[in-house]
């Protein structure tokens, strides 16, 4: 059986994405564009977003598509002397717009956004009209121009937002959804793997103790298992994470406390059957110490099944974390897939039909779970080759 199959390749791809691509992308919580931008590959009629830097007095560029959603001009202008007459102009093919009066000051910070009402009033427009749709209504050559009677040093950035951004668009806060998506892989993998690892360790330890010692220890551990299994999982998780806190490790701990019971049962029954197995009895008769039997016989026998149990437990933890985050019970500063869906639902992705906020995290969760299920099945088949025949593979 080869190790490199679709599921492992997919997981490796995701891990590479987190460790190599994620640091190159910049902080996920940064606002990069207006809210609810579409992905770049959608809607070819509107142009690509434009970001230009002007070091000279005049910056020319062409605009060949339909009017953008917004634009902004930010930066500094400094004059060698105090100018008597100076202005920041935006020249369109038909008309010249005076964006800002620069006269009377030597050093200026420019911060113009086309959505500002003072700018609209300054240009003599209705406050409810979007400036960019007026200025960029023509196709052709535009220029940003500082007109002054003294020499000026210009460092301006003009950003034109077309309502499109990045691979997956932007969310309600103008964050890049692709960055959030990549960040979400890390959270899901961390929570899924660590929660199941801790749960498996607890389950294995307690199952082993219960099966090996028997008696009162066994029955008290098994009663605890019964009780924990009878408590409705999601409500108790909601209550505990609501009361206890919303950090990543709190969620990991809470999830592992409520998911070790299955492993404990399996390990206990394995221990019981192995304890009574004739060859173990023979070993004991030959004087093998308990540690030897455990390490050389029990662990090799039980390991594939335990591995399968552990791997098959990961999707449950991932789904539970996503569910808690979706309910708003996670750290708002920690972007995870569940959190993305929560924000999509709360901040009205529906009224805007913003499906690009829903599909990346949702399909991400589903494909990650499918990959783990597929790997777990393979471990299971390794542990018990009879399963292969049953599923007909």
């Amino acid at each position: 059986m080869s190790f490199w199959r679709l599921d492992t390749l997919f997981l490796t791809f995701l891990v590479l994405l987190t460790f190599i691509v994620s640091p190159m992308l910049g902080p996920a919580n940064e606002t990069v564009a207006p809210p609810f931008c579409k992905p770049l590959w959608l809607d070819p009629a509107s142009g690509r977003p434009l970001s230009l830097n002007a070091k000279d007095n005049i910056l020319s560029f062409t605009w060949e598509s339909k009017p953008p959603k917004a634009f902004s001009v930010k930066g500094t202008v400094s004059f060698e002397e105090v100018p008597k007459d100076a202005a920041l102009l935006l020249v369109s093919p038909k008309k010249t717009y005076k964006l800002m009066d620069l006269a009377g000051l030597k050093n200026l910070d420019v911060d113009i956004d086309s959505r500002d009402v003072p700018l609209k009033l300054h240009l003599g427009l209705n406050p409810f009209v979007e400036v960019s749709s007026v200025i960029f209504s023509e196709k052709g050559t535009y220029s940003l121009y500082v007109r002054s009677d003294v020499k000026a040093h210009v460092n301006l950035n003009i950003n034109i937002y077309t309502g499109k951004w990045g691979i997956f668009g932007t969310d309600q806060r103008g964050r890049d959804v692709f960055r959030l998506f990549v960040q979400g892989i890390k959270i899901s993998l961390l929570v899924g793997i660590f929660a199941t690892l801790i749960a498996s360790t607890i389950g294995m330890g307690l199952g082993l103790i219960a099966g090996y010692l028997g008696g009162l220890t066994d029955s008290s551990i098994m009663r605890t298992v019964d009780v924990l299994l009878a408590i409705p999982t999601l409500p108790i998780l909601v209550v505990i994470s609501g009361v206890w806190g919303r950090g990543l490790w709190q969620i990991v701990l809470v999830l592992s406390i409520f998911s070790w019971m299955g492993t404990a049962r399996v390990v206990r029954s394995l221990t019981l059957s192995l304890r009574e197995a004739p060859y173990v009895e023979g070993l004991r008769a030959l004087g093998a110490p308990a540690g030897y039997i455990l390490v050389r016989h029990f662990i090799p026998e039980a390991l594939p099944l335990l591995l399968a149990q552990t791997v098959l437990g990961v999707p449950g933890a991932i789904l539970a974390e996503a569910g808690l985050s979706f309910l708003g019970l996670s750290d708002p500063l920690m972007p995870s897939w569940g959190r993305m869906l929560h924000e999509a639902q709360v901040f009205g992705a529906f009224t805007g039909g913003a499906w690009w906020l829903i599909f990346p995290p949702g399909l991400g969760i589903a494909s990650l779970c499918l990959a783990f299920i597929s790997i777990g099945r393979r471990f299971e088949e390794m542990a018990d080759p009879r399963l292969k025949e049953m599923t007909g593979r």
């Binding site: 999601l234 309910l327 019970l329 869906l341 829903i358 499918l370």
Partner: protein, 323 residues
């Protein structure tokens, strides 16, 4: 009463005791005062004491615990911090909506799953079996809220057939039949989404049971006797698969109740699950505790019921018990 039932009852009581103490200590041992969300810091100490007294929070912890247990066992849930109404009233108002969501969903997905599972077991390797295996895999790996969000996006936004939110129109329509149709209109999408998510695992489970049952020797005997194939399928094979199916039906109820929290949040339904979430998020401890207690009670009751019904469906068990 024999030993077995005594044991089951005792363990159910143990679960309730654990839930009650969890409820009590979780909400009291947390950082901060349980009433800090209710009390204004500008309150005078006397007024604060008065308010704490009205909630019974001035007594020692052990005494509070006994009062609490007594109140919970008699279903006196106190007054909600948020709405200042009795919690019991709020729960009673929401319970019908939750039942209206969960009961049809569970029933429909079980029936659909059983039919598909039996069909898949009958025609091994056929299209039905492939569909069942696929839908089972999907129901284990797709987050429920994602599927529901996509359904909402499709059927309430892109093609506005169903409402985006709520369990009743605002203002509610006049007249009994208008009210009923409005209710059905609002509940269709949530129920359908739960059925869509639920039937896969049912079908998979029933299919596995039936494949096993159909491989038994008595089926071969029945075939040899020339009994009709449909009769073999339902009266012989399905009959042996019935006890575990019934158990799973009742054992799946807790999971379904858990699912109500998410479903009611997605569709903004006025139910118990959403109530629990809102109470937890709003630090409304009496309400959150009561909702969680109620859900746990239902779970425990379902587990007990599963055992009782099992003895009815599996004649071997009840026979032994009667003797």
């Amino acid at each position: 009463m024999n030993n077995y039932w005594l044991k089951r009852l005792l363990s159910s009581l143990l679960v309730i005791a654990v839930v009650l103490s969890l409820n009590f200590f979780l909400f009291r041992l947390m950082p901060g005062d349980p009433t800090s969300s209710l009390l204004d810091p500008r309150f005078s100490p006397e007024a604060k004491h008065e308010l704490l007294k009205s909630y019974g929070l001035d007594k020692p912890l052990s005494q509070q615990f006994f009062i609490y247990v007594k109140q919970m066992l008699t279903f006196k849930f106190g007054i909600s911090f948020m709405s200042q109404r009795p919690v019991w009233q709020e729960l009673a108002e929401r319970l019908p909506n939750t039942l209206l969501l969960l009961f049809p969903a569970l029933l429909l997905s079980a029936v659909l799953g059983i039919l598909l599972g039996v069909a898949a077991a009958k025609g091994r390797g056929g299209l039905v079996e492939k569909t069942v295996l696929l839908s089972g895999a999907i129901s284990f790996s797709f987050p429920s809220f994602f599927v529901q969000l996509v359904l909402l996006l499709l059927l309430a936004h892109a093609f506005p057939i169903f409402p985006l939110r709520g369990s009743l129109s605002v203002p509610p329509p006049v007249g009994f039949w208008n009210l009923v149709t409005d209710k059905i209109w609002h509940m269709t999408l949530p129920v359908a989404s739960l059925v869509l998510l639920g039937f896969g695992s049912w079908a998979l489970y029933v299919r596995n049971l039936m494949v096993k049952a159909l491989g038994e020797d008595f089926i071969l005997l029945a075939r040899a006797k020339g009994i009709r194939e449909s009769r073999i399928l339902w009266r012989h094979a399905f009959r042996t698969a019935l006890p575990p199916i019934v158990t799973i039906f009742f054992l799946s109820l807790p999971g379904v109740i858990s699912g109500a929290v998410i479903t009611e949040t997605v569709f903004s339904l006025h139910g118990i699950g959403k109530f629990l979430l809102d109470a937890v998020l709003g630090h409304d401890y009496p309400a959150a505790g009561a909702a969680f207690y109620l859900m746990s009670l239902v779970t425990v009751a379902c587990n007990l019921l599963a055992d009782v019904v099992y003895t009815f469906v599996d004649p071997r068990i009840s026979f032994r018990r009667l003797r």
